[in-house]
């Protein structure tokens, strides 16, 4: 449990803490909302695409954080749900484009309001299946099993030649929304921003609910929780499914953002990247995954612009972060905030 979440829960002190935090949140919100016009004004339109990616990865990282940070379950297969969400969108679009039906039954669609719920449902269903099996173990076997299942999904899509196999699926256009032009990058950015904000609020509600406390309690002391009559398996499975749905949402948005899905989205290194975002930002904190996603996307973009061997430098930076810091960027910011009250 982080110190600031403790403080906000211990009565009167929360009042003094909440006001500056609220202020900061409003400030960040305004800044994020200003981003597209500011980017256009400063002649750096590419910043919108980058910020869209940050928002999408933030959703994926926040969802992973629910199981990894709050639940203490080190899952190494989160990218599978991210990729499944993306493929749900891509497959729906392909069937829409050639007006065929999935499995000869379900028609395709290019409506975002159809594609996103379908993507989230597909990912949640996969998470239910994989979680139900993986959660029979814990600790290191759990890490390995989630990784192995993700590989299984990965290979499945590599071998699905009907949906592009190795090469992936292209979408000619983004999915459409009534009254909004999703083809406009700024509009799409705002959609992703809203989705990220909604997922953030949902996560905040979950971790402050009874369910969230039980989940954290299970991480801290499983035996004590069991003695209190809590069945760990069910709570963890539900958290795993919610996390899967969140990754599905992120994947669906990413497919729309890039207008492309490929098995790369579910490659195990993508799971590693998502974990890095959570750790880098601070596992088990609300804002950590947001910071981590932003840091990771910016770091990758900056390094990739400078050198072809950016992965080498990324590796060294990540290694340094893991070895030298504890609690990630959120803890670092928290420490800085406390140092100068």
């Amino acid at each position: 449990m982080t110190s600031d979440s403790l403080e906000s829960r211990t009565g009167d002190r929360s009042i003094t803490i909440v006001a500056p935090r609220l202020l900061a949140a409003v400030l960040v919100g305004v800044l994020l909302a200003m981003l597209p016009p500011a980017g256009a004004m400063l002649q750096v339109p590419s910043v919108v695409g980058l910020a869209t990616q940050v928002m999408i990865y933030a959703i994926a990282a926040m969802s992973l954080n629910l199981v990894l940070g709050y639940g203490g379950l080190v899952t190494f297969g989160h990218a599978a749900f991210f990729g499944l969400g993306g493929y749900a969108v891509g497959i729906l679009y392909q069937h829409f484009a050639d007006s065929s039906a999935f499995l000869g039954f379900f028609p395709g669609s290019d409506a975002l309001l159809v594609a996103i719920p379908v993507a989230m449902l597909v990912s949640a269903a996969a998470a239910a299946g994989i979680g139900a099996l993986s959660l029979r173990t814990s600790g290191v076997p759990f890490i390995m099993i989630t990784l192995a299942f993700a590989q299984m999904v990965f290979f499945l899509f590599v071998s699905l030649k009907a949906y592009g196999g190795d090469d992936g699926l292209m979408m000619r256009r983004r999915d459409v929304l009534p009254f909004l032009n999703t083809r406009d990058d700024a509009t799409f950015y705002y959609i992703c921003l809203m989705a990220a904000a909604a997922w953030f609020l949902l996560t905040a509600c979950i971790v402050r609910s009874r369910f969230g406390f039980v989940l954290s309690g299970l991480r801290q002391n499983e035996r004590r929780m069991m003695a209190m009559g809590v069945a760990p398996y069910r709570y963890r499975l539900v958290a795993f499914i919610i996390a899967g749905a969140g990754a599905g949402l992120a994947g669906a948005l990413m497919a729309n953002h890039l207008r492309f899905v490929s098995p790369d989205m579910m490659h195990w290194t993508k799971s590693g990247e998502l974990m890095m975002m959570v750790i880098l930002g601070g596992a088990g904190t609300l804002t950590g995954p947001l910071l981590g996603a932003a840091a990771m996307v910016l770091l990758e973009t900056l390094l990739a612009a400078r050198t072809e061997n950016w992965q080498l430098y990324l590796g060294f930076i990540l290694l340094a972060v893991v070895m030298l810091t504890r609690g990630g960027l959120a803890a670092l910011l928290g420490r800085a905030g406390r140092a100068q009250p």
């Binding site: 076997p141 299984m152 890095m276």
Partner: protein, 303 residues
């Protein structure tokens, strides 16, 4: 006869998997460290052997060079990174070793390029022998099987019959006690990590002429080795051995015979697509099945 040949291929693949998963099991079992960079050591072994073979043309030197390079890299990694992670939780270990993969893979990319290196089969070993009437088998693969089985036997003797093995086993369950008995645990850890790295390097060396040597080869087999560890039971070298053989056989036999079987049930192109999908996930299906029945693995170590 083709079935027998494929079974031998399965055993040979299983042995490569065993060398990988034995290292993982040893390192996890005694030190509690989950090392994702284990696959990178496999890759280092393969590259080093390929280079030595290209310069000297000697099989023996290539073998020695490969395992020496892997063991040295392992000891270096243990010294610089892993040593600081023993007291941390698994998450930090996973992430730090993930970062190591990025570093090692990209370095290999810079040094050797993206093109896979093809290692020529040593001429003395490129022939075939007739094992049974009608069963002709490549000498090299046969040697791999023999070599792997002898390494496995040596490992069992080391772990169950020697003082080092006793410490390894004791350290796995009662770390503090071993330390209290005056054993230099730090040194023991470094040695075990080096041994695990050596086994991974050996696996890489022998896989070189069968597959191609390329960046990313380590991760493919690493994940299979994980599956093996889960099937066999975490922390048990015996489990790793049987898990590896079962996984190797299932994978090889599925790849060899599923297309044929499915083609009798449905149309050719559909059958081929489905078969390639099914056979690449057959080993994961096996793992799911084992998990359903025995979550702790087939031959789990003592609890």
């Amino acid at each position: 006869m083709i079935i027998l040949e494929q079974i031998l291929n399965g055993v040979q693949f299983g042995i490569t998997l065993f060398l990988m998963s034995a290292g993982l099991t040893l390192i996890f079992g005694i030190m509690g460290v989950i090392n994702l960079a284990h696959g990178s050591l496999y890759m280092i072994g393969a590259y080093a052997a390929a280079l030595v073979a290209a310069y000297t043309g000697s099989v023996g030197l290539a073998l020695l060079g490969g395992i020496a390079a892997a063991a040295a890299s392992g000891i270096l990694i243990e010294f610089v990174v892993v040593q600081r992670l023993y007291q941390r939780d698994h998450l930090d270990q996973v992430l730090a070793t993930f970062a190591l993969i990025l570093i090692i893979n990209q370095s290999a990319n810079m040094l050797f390029g993206r093109q896979p290196l093809f290692v020529a089969m040593p001429p003395s070993l490129s022939g075939s022998v007739t094992l049974l009437p009608g069963l002709v088998y490549p000498v090299y693969r046969l040697l791999v099987i023999v070599l792997g089985l002898s390494v496995a036997a040596g490992l069992f003797l080391l772990i169950h019959r020697t003082r080092i093995g006793m410490l390894v086993r004791a350290g796995a369950t009662h770390r503090q006690m071993v330390r209290a008995l005056g054993v230099n645990v730090r040194l023991l850890y470094t040695a075990v990590f080096g041994l695990g790295a050596l086994l991974a390097g050996l696996a890489g060396v022998i896989a070189g002429p069968i597959t191609s040597v390329q960046v990313g080869m380590g991760e493919q087999i690493l994940i299979l080795a994980f599956v093996v560890v889960v099937i066999g039971g975490l922390g048990s070298v015996r489990g790793a051995f049987f898990g590896a053989l079962v996984a190797g056989l299932v994978d090889t036999l599925a790849r060899a015979f599923l297309p044929m079987l499915l083609r009798q049930l449905m149309g050719g192109s559909n059958a081929d697509a489905l078969a390639s999908g099914l056979s690449s996930i057959s080993i994961y299906l096996l793992m799911a099945l084992v998990l359903l029945i025995r979550p702790q693995g087939l031959l789990a170590g003592k609890p």
